[in-house]
Symmetry: D2
Subunit: 346 residues, 4 copies
């Protein structure tokens, strides 16, 4: 049994990692850290886990922590992560970092959007943990930078088109909508039930969300030239789910069928990508609780644009589920192990 530990278990991502791992047949969950809830049962912090785990939340130093597991999930905010990861790496551990700290390959870009990086030497060692693009590298990686939730939904939707060069990258516009788990479990007025419920709003309008450089980095790799996009996030009154609606001008006159063939060729062996039939489009409630990314698309002949709609559960394929998928790959387990459950609907 592989021993795994969660650093930062009391947030929504930590809770979801706990939910998935407590049923994972090849993993023993050996530690869960939380400064705020140290000493409390994890099942008190997340009462859904009662009877599923006996772990206590602990406040451990990296030294103490390091001995407790073979693989670590860093589910802490950026900045905190990069202060922990180097020592775990030096101790020979494997790490899936769910923060942003090792996602951006260019230190200057990281420091422009976040803050000074305390361990830039590990950036080169990190693999961007999107298995659909980097599966072989992930298998060999010791440090995986788990992608952001918005980037996962957007990159998976655009990758086949960019790889085939059939859209004009300068026309890409992405309108994304996220559930409230994306805002985390910290107490803040803006995340209160009464502020979010029965409402909808845009935020970080005008290209100011920190996921933007991450998205553009990967789209640029796929397009093999510099890509700049418009990206607007919105807050949905749901707990789980991201749906991204992406628009791009077509370079060439292509039919729906040939686009469908491109997606099928790219994704037919992917265990967690579901392409919807013509005329069907994703809904967040159909991926709820599971690791799927659902993708649908239409061509608007009138404007010569393609519209791609992609949906994930933001704390599963957009965070904890993808992290477990990465762990499976890094540790030689079946890629889908522990992630086979069907989405919950309704």
């Amino acid at each position: 049994m592989l021993r795994a530990a969660i650093i930062g278990a009391s947030g929504y991502t930590g809770g979801e990692l706990s939910r998935i791992l407590c049923n994972h047949p090849e993993i023993e969950l050996t530690a869960a850290t939380s400064r705020q809830y140290a000493g409390k049962a994890l099942s008190e912090v997340f009462p859904n886990l009662l009877r599923k785990t006996d772990l206590l939340c602990e406040n451990l130093s990296v030294d103490e922590l390091s001995e407790r597991a073979d693989l670590f999930f860093a589910a802490v905010p950026h900045k905190t992560a990069m202060d922990l990861v180097p020592q775990l790496m030096q101790d020979g551990k494997k790490v899936v970092d769910l923060s942003a700290d090792y996602r951006l390959r260019d230190v200057a870009t990281y420091e422009e959007w976040y803050q000074k990086h305390s361990s830039p030497e590990f950036i080169a060692e990190a693999t961007y943990g999107l298995p659909e693009l980097y599966r072989e590298q992930i298998k060999r990686a010791r440090l995986v930078a788990n992608p952001g939730c918005y980037p996962t939904s957007i990159i998976l939707g655009l990758a086949p088109l960019l790889q085939q060069g059939i859209i004009d990258p300068s026309t890409i516009i992405v309108d994304s909508k996220s559930g409230a788990t994306g805002a985390g479990r910290s107490a803040s007025v803006g995340s209160l039930f009464c502020e979010v419920h029965d409402g909808f709003r845009a935020y970080k309008v005008g290209g100011t969300h920190r996921h933007l450089p991450e998205i553009e980095q990967e789209l640029t790799v796929l397009q093999k030239s510099d890509v700049k996009i418009s990206f607007t996030p919105h807050l949905l009154p749901i707990s789980r789910g991201i749906l991204s609606t992406t628009y791009a001008n077509l370079n060439v006159n292509v039919s729906y069928e040939s686009v469908h063939q491109i997606y099928t060729d790219t994704y037919q062996d992917e265990p967690f990508i579901r392409l919807l039939p013509k005329g069907s489009f994703p809904a967040t409630q159909h991926v709820r609780g599971a690791n799927f990314c659902d993708i649908g698309y239409a061509i608007d002949q009138r404007t010569n644009r393609i519209i791609i709609v992609s949906a994930i559960d933001n704390i599963v394929k957009g965070a904890a589920g993808q992290a477990v998928q990465n762990m499976n790959l890094m540790c030689g387990l079946s890629e889908t192990c522990g992630l086979e459950g069907a989405p919950f609907f309704p």
Copy 2:
């Protein structure tokens, strides 16, 4: 006291018209028709209206109806409306038609998107009921075609920019999200609580929603040349509210401040347009229950695009409230009469 009647009072738009009109100081609500609920109290169909109205729902012929009021709200589906309106017009009545039947000035376009038109001769007489654009014509009109909900939010957001010619109309992309009242009060599996709640989806992707020709008609008038846009509607798990996020490339290098000046110049005397301060963006929960259209905007320098976010309550400014605003104008009442209530939050 002006006598007003609602044709089709049992849908959500009819219910909202009833709610507004039962408190309107210059109106006597004299009839409410419903085939399905004939004989029932309107306050049984809408229990929120108990003690606010004693009207019974009736199933009346147009002849019977015509005598009962001076102004009629047609809150019935398209097709049904155009079978009723001509006789009311011939009887010398005023009509605010909330269906799509008289919105499109080109009969051929109407017939392409809907069905054969049974009274095309009245199309020319109809005024498009967006007071911010057609106030003077509405004051003189006998037949007002009340705008669709999506079009209201989109046209109001784009009008100042198109009038000033500062955006490239071929680059307009509109990503709209609507609450579930937009789907009406008919029983259908897709509108059940469990299908909509805690979820989010796109529909009519690829330029197939019937509001598209209406939107393009008005944008074309504003731009003074043919405008074609991309438009994707989505279904939000909320009852009331539309939020439209609109993207367009700027023709010229303009600052936020000059854009703000353009909006201010256009809308400063409008009673129902609220321009948000820099860095603030609309939320549907802040217009809930009221006739406002809130608008915010940002310029993304990186891509030279402007992003406009506009929000309305889809059954108030997007339907019943705007219809009352039109009635006020048509009947010489104060434009805001009966519409002064502040939005409800939370």
Copy 3:
């Protein structure tokens, strides 16, 4: 014009008071205090109020405040209220206190459930602000203790039965469910959207909620003998609304019709009580945003019990609306002034 001020304007009750008062024709809202948001526009704290009020939130001493208005709404937590009210009273002002500080007539009971009382001498001067029971006293009062939200829904449901002595008070069980505005606008993990949404829970089970002594105080007055009840509050995933389901054994064999007559006799002239017809029961969504208390009842012959279901909007009839109703009475205005709007549904 009466000058009114809100002390503690940034909570949900303060926001609702602002919404109601900014449309009240006989009131000028002259001050809104908030320590946290001092200097900010009230319409920034509550963006729904944009264009409806130009007030700034201020942090004022009681001295400064006292000059600014004739009547004050204390919408601050208990303890804070009793530190402010005495001076306002000494300055000859009228006060509607929405906290619990002057609701309990017995100081010892107050101190058992809350904390030491700093101005017990004003308790005797305070009138319990339930107009349906204490209208004449409220008209003469200078200090009104606005009832709690749960108590309002429960006392109004039981009053006619207790006054007629037809139920056994020792068998009263009240199962109440409240929307999340009841938990206030302070940041706390338990009130986050993701904790409340799509869920339901009981809290303060076993007779430990602070509204219990308030409820029993008033039921005891009505019954004219000591009443002890069971009361369990629950948290609903809605913003506004309380629904209380109350059970009691009947002392006598009474028909539905005679019970209905008792309710009708008691409440027929009440502007804000709506008795539902036989077989109909209240729903929170039908009182949303308005000052009504809806009441329905059934007799279960099998068990000889009566079940009373009562619903209010907890921040209107359960807080801000009832406070305005009290103000209207205290100041000689029409009791319903500013409170005529119909509930909004859906």
Copy 4:
């Protein structure tokens, strides 16, 4: 591999059975019937199941159906079930009937609350499928009457107390709240999103819900004397979940600790009952998607009453999950097989 079939796969219970069974390691799901959706893929009717099942919905006669599986889940409405079950039984099949048709042991009671029974001879053969009470009988049963959702939550909460005789059964009052999946997937105005969302209501007030005789039947068995209760169902604006708050007078002066001991003695080996620690109470969001029944309790010394709060996912432990638990028992599989997933929160 056991071959299992679902009769009536397109409702919410059928969909949840499909979700559970498509991941059940010992079962092959061989048929799914639906008159309405015959010919459609089950994953089109429930898009969450895409890639998890290839079954088509079929419209089969009982003859055709009978050959297709060894065990049948009847997830059709009452009346329809009793017209299908007898032939399956005669063909030597095992049946878990999720309708009400074989739950009531007294035919007269059934016919009073439902309609004439067409196969009363099978009632005696049916076992009431609450494993916590009837485990050994279920293991030997060929026909299991799967309990109703409300009864499951209520009976499990009361059983230990009735068995010990410590409460007065004539004082039992049950106030239950259910999510909207309980109303089924049929199109009806009352179940529309806009009617249910952001609201709360009671229904079937006064002892008229059809689950009442089922609840009383089982409580009477446990108490060993006739039990009559008050029961009020309510509709919650959530998809999944039932929470029942139950009140009863204590016969004797017992401490919380001795009550806790009674519950622990009764349920300590039960895989799907979770007793909450003192001061903690269930929440529907903590059992969402799983087969647990969570139970908490408090004693109100002031009134000498015990209050029991129990929560289940109404379509899992209240329907599909319990049906699979019964199947496991009937077929000699591990009782928890296919039901090990943790509840998902948030």
